[in-house]
């Protein structure tokens, strides 16, 4: 079922790249339409999975990736509509395709175990998903900032100069995305701590070794804290010590690499506690 949105994401990706290279308005509109259709199809898929599992499919790394892609597509579409700027789509769409390929080839939704049912757990995961989507956007905005910055600094005004919005716009978009992501990340982590202390006390939690394995030394939790530190520094540095512009862009990129690392390989292979 996840193949249908994947096909639309891939088509949108091709259209965004084509539009970026050739700057034909029709292709740009087609790209947005295709991404809109992809998000719509994805909403339908997630809706079906929600019906099947009884709650939003956020348990299990595969389902979580699918939900993350959906959130990222929606937040990008929102950004595009509010800024009327399509250039970023060229950088976001490939990420959507790459990540959506995982749920597309590993389908199936598991019914969540009893320990993972409840509003606190849902809030924990949804907050983190929103944070990751914001960080993904910030990363792509950061990458485009650096590309444009380098062209202007090198006094070679070419490809990106003609296609990207101004440095100022990119910088403020980056900082806004980071601030929003940081709020979600903080909420997600705090709720996670509260949920853990509750879960450890109830019967289902005591029986589940994964709940017992939750600790600061678990790679997933440790890396999440590293992320929080990186983004906290970025939020602070941009406001207090003038680390805006290119430095903030680099931090956004580094931060998201860590997020991605935590989200895919660590979730699948390393963690002991978050292996739901």
């Amino acid at each position: 079922m996840n193949l249908v949105p994947l096909a639309f994401y891939a088509a949108a990706c091709v259209a965004y790249v084509w539009h970026f290279a050739r700057r034909q308005p029709v292709v740009g509109r087609a790209a947005t339409t295709l991404l809109g259709l992809a998000a719509l199809a994805h909403t339908f898929v997630i809706g079906m999975e929600t019906m099947q599992a009884g709650q939003i499919p956020i348990t299990g790394a595969t389902s979580a990736i699918s939900t993350f892609v959906w959130l990222l597509a929606l937040s990008y579409l929102y950004t595009e509509m509010t800024t009327n700027e399509r250039a970023m789509g060229t950088f976001i769409a490939p990420l959507l395709v790459a990540l959506q390929a995982i749920p597309a080839v590993r389908p199936g939704v598991d019914s969540p175990p009893p320990v993972l049912r409840g509003p606190l757990f849902s809030l924990h995961v949804s907050s983190l998903m929103c944070a990751y989507a914001s960080f993904a956007l910030a990363c792509m905005i950061g990458v485009t900032y650096v590309l444009l910055f380098k062209e202007i600094k090198a006094k070679h005004l070419g490809f990106f100069y003609a296609r990207l919005p101004s440095l100022q716009v990119l910088d403020s978009m980056n900082q806004r995305a980071i601030a929003l992501g940081w709020i979600f990340l903080t909420v997600g982590l705090v709720v996670g701590v509260i949920w853990t202390s509750n879960a450890r006390g109830d019967a289902a939690g005591i029986a589940d070794p994964r709940v017992q394995a939750i600790s600061l030394l678990d790679p997933k939790i440790f890396v999440a804290l590293v992320c929080w530190l990186v983004y906290s520094f970025e939020v602070f540095a941009a406001r207090r010590i003038g680390w805006g512009g290119r430095r903030a862009a680099y931090l956004s990129a580094i931060g998201f690499v860590i997020v991605l690392l935590n989200f895919v390989p660590i979730s699948y292979f390393v963690t002991n506690s978050h292996d739901f």
Binding site: I152, L157, Q168, G242, G245
Partner: protein, 453 residues
């Protein structure tokens, strides 16, 4: 009926001659009026810019009209025909279409892709329309050219990138700061170059402009010339610098007045807010190393010139794509032009039917006189309806021929022969030649009044 263009442009004539042929001196409106009065053209539009003086006309016979338009140019501007002749060019029919499409797209401009020309072409049509010298053909041609100009600009890069130093600086500032509204400018030096660049920036809506010069009186004079600019003493340069977003340096100093260390010190209290320095002085006013500082964007006159040259080259590279669009649009216009070929035949056929109907009713008038008025009206209606129904299909068929002019010609020939339309006189006693459209749609007195001149 032909489309005809006679004129000169920067490609064929030097600036001295272009100045003498500038229609704005005598008034474009009076030129089109005088042109209409000569009677050699059915429709006319005069496009006059500093780089071209062109007359677009619709005429029955291209050869005499060509000569007449050329002599109009010399008469109107009081020039010697021999002086003008080597620089004059003329084009006919689809070549005119192609030329106007190129002009409106900025491909024929001195600076390829410059945007003003489209507005100037629009203005030319507006003036001619006000003088009622525009008929269906030129109206369609010019409106098509507006569409082509817009299409070329949106679908190709012929209009992209700044191609003058001033615009390149403004474009760069926009790319760094987003908008220029509220951005503060510091001009170091009170010379002409600095003043001109600051004026250019000011016209783009920047915030505060401050002039700093070693000689206060010079700074004051420049500030007055710019209008609304303030002056600061040389000692305060650091304070003004740290509060500014864009710095234009244009002093005559022999060694750099802003060193890397100097700019670094200024950047600290700014918390790395971007600083765009435009160094247009020669020798340079700002140490090149200052450009290495994070969030300092330093461009000197050569850098801006290279940008301009690159943009020019990029625009040139887009010409082929623009040409393809123009060819496509010329084909569309040609198609429309050909479909008009059948119109005179359709009109003649309808006139013929109407004449027959009218003469039959007139012939029967004595017998119909006894009928009540309602019955007469009914008779008129029924006979009209019969004609409409009979002619509906042939009219549709003739209009749909479009494409090949030979086919249109053959059909027209057959219809003309079958109905004997050749021998018919028009409503005004004049035979309608094939392809003729209505002359100037304005008051008839204009062309008749003018014929006396």
């Amino acid at each position: 009926m032909h489309l005809l263009l006679v004129g000169i442009s920067h490609r064929t004539a030097p600036v001295e001659l272009r100045e003498r042929l500038d229609f704005h001196a005598g008034g474009v409106a009076s030129a089109v009026r005088a042109l209409a009065a000569r009677g050699c053209a059915r429709e006319a539009v005069v496009v006059s810019t500093c780089n071209r003086a062109e007359i677009y006309a619709v005429c029955d016979d291209a050869e005499p009209a060509r000569a007449d338009l050329a002599s109009f140019l010399t008469d109107f501007h009081g020039l010697d025909a021999a002086t003008l002749k080597p620089h004059l060019y003329d084009l006919v029919d689809l070549d005119v279409t192609r030329h106007l499409f190129r002009v409106a797209s900025g491909l024929d401009s001195l600076v390829v892709g410059e945007p003003q020309i489209l507005g100037q072409v629009k203005e030319a049509l507006t003036t001619a329309t006000a003088e009622q010298t525009v008929g269906p053909l030129l109206n369609r041609l010019f409106h098509s050219s507006f569409g082509v100009g817009k299409r070329v600009r949106t679908e190709t890069g012929v209009g992209s990138g700044a191609v003058s130093i001033g615009f390149a600086a403004v474009a760069l500032a926009r790319k760094i700061f987003g908008g220029l509204n509220g951005r503060d400018i510091l001009v170091v030096g009170a010379g002409e170059m600095g003043k001109l660049t600051a004026l250019h920036m000011k016209s783009q809506g920047v915030g505060r402009v401050t002039i700093v010069s070693r000689t206060m009186s010079h700074a004051t004079r420049t500030a007055e010339a710019i209008g609304g600019a303030s002056v600061a003493p040389w000692e305060d340069i650091d304070a003004v610098l740290s509060a500014s977003d864009i710095v234009i340096t244009a002093t005559g100093a022999l060694s750099p007045i802003l060193t890397k260390a100097h700019v670094e010190a200024v950047m600290r209290p700014r918390r790395n807010r971007p600083l765009f320095i435009i160094d247009i002085a020669m020798p340079r006013d700002v140490e090149a190393e200052a450009g290495e500082i994070e969030q300092v964007f330093l461009y000197n006159i050569d850098d801006l010139q290279i940008t301009v040259r690159e943009n020019m080259a990029r625009r040139e590279g887009e010409i082929a794509r623009a040409q393809a669009i123009i060819s496509e649009e010329v084909d569309k216009f040609a198609q429309w032009l050909r479909s008009r070929g059948a119109i005179p035949t359709v009109v003649a056929l309808r006139n013929h039917f109407e004449q027959v109907r009218r003469s039959e009713i007139d012939r029967l008038e004595p017998k119909l006189a006894t009928l009540p008025p309602e019955a007469k009206e009914r008779l008129e209606d029924i006979t009209h309806l019969i004609i409409e129904k009979l002619l509906l299909k042939p009219t549709e068929q003739l209009k749909a021929l479009g494409g090949d002019p030979d086919t249109v010609g053959n059909y027209a020939e057959v219809v003309t022969r079958l109905w004997g339309l050749d021998n018919l006189e028009g409503a005004e006693g004049e035979r309608r030649p094939r392809g003729r459209v209505e002359p100037f749609p304005g008051p008839k007195s204009r062309s008749s009044g003018g014929s006396g001149r």
